[in-house]
């Protein structure tokens, strides 16, 4: 059962008159709200129960910060609508990454949509994957915000983009009324034992898979993220079981992608985890400082885990697109037998896979490799205005 809750809503004066603010306040029930310039909770735990509505006119749609070369990244585009998450996972990088401990929601969706439109128009032949679930959970607050519905409607019918709603939540009832066309709803998955020990306030694996099946039946594409994959005694057996349960629960033809990413975090997060979750032992496994400075399992250990997972996925459906998040070309080669030449090529691989498997329903044009050249950074050097 998910057990998170929002205890109060704070509205920035400049965000008070926005339409999304009005909607949230009308959905809030008996959650108290105040108007204030800033919020200073005493702890992250308290911050995770505070929803702060703000409005920022700066760039809110940005390339995924990814990680340093030589680790490969997929050129995902992150929508910074909601930052911070009401769930409390031991391994969550947001504990250390975000400056503000409160859940900050930017209510100016009109500005965000404008920025997305500008990007799509700027590179009409590239197929973009956007997501709201990088700095928070895409669906966890939907009962209050209804925001995911807005994104689903916005992306519906766009020729060169889709949105991924990445979540651990099972609040999907409201999604079933929207046009699922250009939306991937994806779940972060882990064995039940990991969920119980490391993912506070998050629903069980079974609940997530049930929600995924319902979304698939409504016509949504699905995604699954084995991220972070944790190393522990018996982990291979348990992760294989998760794969089997996924393929036993949903139609694999509707799985747009599955990602694999082992536990990794900046060294500064280690003491945060030790302090906030003294009972968690995840930081005590063998880890090295990677070439990007992050702590991660040694490469042979990662490959052992990935190989077991990849093999199980291949056995279930060899056509499902599997990718690694922040991994070395060598790991790609050893585990899958091939490796993208760089981030741009990985982006192209996504487009090709989507075109091949979902091209007609996405109304996609044939991916052109010249739209994914590494020389042309997608938009990181440029600014877009609404």
């Amino acid at each position: 059962m998910s057990g998170f809750q929002i205890d109060r809503i704070v509205v920035h004066p400049e965000a008070r008159s926005c339409a999304l603010t009005e909607r949230i306040l009308s959905n809030r029930g008996d959650i108290p709200f105040t108007v204030a310039d800033s919020v200073k909770p005493h702890s992250l735990r308290e911050g995770k129960r505070t929803l702060f509505l703000t409005q920022h006119s700066g760039q809110r749609v940005k390339p995924c910060p990814a990680t340093a070369s030589p680790y490969l990244c997929c050129q995902y585009t992150v929508i910074h609508s909601c930052m911070q998450c009401p769930m409390d996972c031991t391994y969550c990088v947001l504990q250390d990454y975000l400056e503000s401990p409160v859940i900050e929601l930017n209510v100016r969706t009109d500005i965000i949509f404008g920025q997305i439109e500008a990007m799509l128009a700027d590179q009409p032949h590239r197929f973009f994957r956007f997501g709201t679930g990088e700095l928070g959970d895409s669906l966890a607050l939907d009962a209050l915000t209804g925001l995911s519905g807005d994104f689903i409607d916005f992306f519906s019918g766009r020729r060169n983009a889709l949105i991924e709603l990445k979540t651990k939540s099972v609040q999907i009832g409201h999604l079933l009324q929207h046009d699922p066309g250009h939306t991937v709803i994806s779940w972060s998955v882990n064995p039940e034992s990991v969920i119980r020990a490391q993912e506070m306030h998050a629903p069980s694996l079974q609940a997530r898979l049930d929600a995924a099946r319902q979304c698939q039946e409504t016509g949504y594409m699905l995604g699954f993220h084995f991220d972070p994959v944790l190393y522990f005694e018996d982990c291979v057996v348990q992760y294989r079981d998760v794969v089997r349960r996924i393929f036993g629960s949903v139609d694999s033809n509707r799985i747009a992608w599955i990602s694999l990413g082992s536990l990794r975090f900046p060294p500064s997060l280690k003491s945060v985890i030790q302090t906030r979750f003294p009972g968690s032992r995840i930081v005590y496994e063998e880890m090295i400082r990677g070439l990007d400075g992050k702590l991660r399992y040694p490469r042979p250990m990662r490959m052992e885990l990935y190989s077991a997972l990849h093999h199980e996925i291949q056995k279930a459906d060899p056509d499902v697109f599997v990718y690694f998040c922040m991994e070395l070309p060598r790991v790609w080669e050893r585990v899958t037998g091939r490796s993208p030449a760089g981030n741009a090529e990985l982006d192209l691989w996504f487009a090709r896979s989507l075109h091949e498997r979902f091209g007609s329903e996405l109304n996609m044009e044939q991916p052109r490799s010249d739209a994914y050249t590494p020389d042309k950074p997608p938009f990181s050097d440029r600014t877009f205005s609404a």
Binding site: I288, G290, L291
Partner: protein, 315 residues
């Protein structure tokens, strides 16, 4: 503030405000015996008696010498918190305070029931970090075994490093201090050792004493046939191998493969210790045609290829 001669019998024998270690000081004793007390002690007139705020050593010596009175500055203190903070500020201006003294000062403030404002003043005075568990950490330092407190003061260990002892039991603290004292291990090294052992304990869910015993750390540290450096290296190696067992195995396998390669003398092979950067680096110092020929012959040998295969399996 006026200086008065205050009879010793009117001064309470009270160490409430004392935050420095009270060690015998024969030089001071001799000086006072010869010339009396030159620098006044500080007293607070509080609830009908004099309570010492500073000069505990001088007062002790004066008593031992049966002196009648001592020169003192008197603070009229309805509220002892600001008076005590004044003493701390004065001490801080004269010298660096140790982390144990800081912890004791925090304890005194706590016992005085100081409010948030006083704590903020203290944080600035002592340059304490802004961390939620600060008071708890200072409290745990006050509870450290006496040997640990002495070690922290002796080496001027920072608050950050002093934390290393807080998850340890009294017995474990004493074991580590025994190790540190026997091998003259400085705090930076000791932090590394404690951190690794603590992490092993957490992963294996095993008490540190047992792990230290299994690794034979005391046996190594007290071996009369080994030098200090050899002992320290052996201890560190044993701990590292236990903390990173798989990396250790892969490294051993790589070294084994490297040995069986029968590299020519002018060549060497290297790899990333973390096993993260893929592949190995082969370096050869070619000074003659013979060097080149021998390298070519070696590279085309079956044993070389087999060894490379074994290495590349890992890296």
């Amino acid at each position: 503030m006026k200086i008065k001669e205050i009879p010793l019998k009117e001064i309470r024998e009270d160490f409430f405000f004392c935050f420095t270690a009270q060690k015998p000081d024969p030089k001071l004793q001799a000086s006072i015996a010869r010339s009396g007390i030159r620098t006044p002690v500080q007293l607070a007139w509080h609830e009908g008696c004099y309570r010492p705020l500073s000069g505990f050593k001088r007062l002790g010596i004066a008593r031992s010498l049966n002196m009648h009175a001592v020169p003192a500055e008197i603070a009229d203190a309805a509220d002892l918190v600001p008076v005590f903070l004044g003493v701390v500020e004065e001490q801080r201006a004269m010298r660096e305070l140790t982390v144990v003294e800081k912890a004791r000062i925090a304890g005194i403030l706590e016992r005085l029931g100081a409010g948030e404002e006083a704590w903020n003043t203290l944080s600035v005075l002592l340059e304490l970090p802004d961390r939620p568990d600060l008071k708890e950490l200072l409290r745990s330092i006050r509870d450290y075994a006496p040997a640990v407190q002495t070690y922290l003061e002796q080496y001027g260990v920072s608050l950050k490093k002093a934390r290393m002892f807080s998850p340890l039991s009294d017995e474990e603290q004493e074991h580590f201090i025994r190790l540190a004292v026997t091998l003259q291990i400085r705090p930076v090294e000791l932090t590394g050792i404690i951190t690794l052992l603590y992490e092993i304990g957490q992963r294996e869910q095993s008490p540190l004493n047992r792990i230290m015993e299994q690794l034979g750390l005391f046996r190594i540290s007290e071996d009369p046939d080994l030098t200090r450096n050899v002992k320290t290296d052996r201890i560190k190696k044993a701990i590292r191998e236990r903390r990173y067992p798989r990396i250790g195995q892969w490294q051993s396998a790589l070294h084994e493969a490297g040995k069986s390669m029968q590299l020519p003398d002018h060549a060497q092979i290297e790899w990333d210790d973390r096993l993260e950067a893929p592949g190995v680096i082969l370096k050869a110092h070619i000074q003659s045609r013979e060097d080149l020929t021998s390298l070519q012959e070696w590279l085309s040998s079956e044993s070389c290829r087999k060894s490379f295969d074994r290495m590349l399996e890992i890296v």
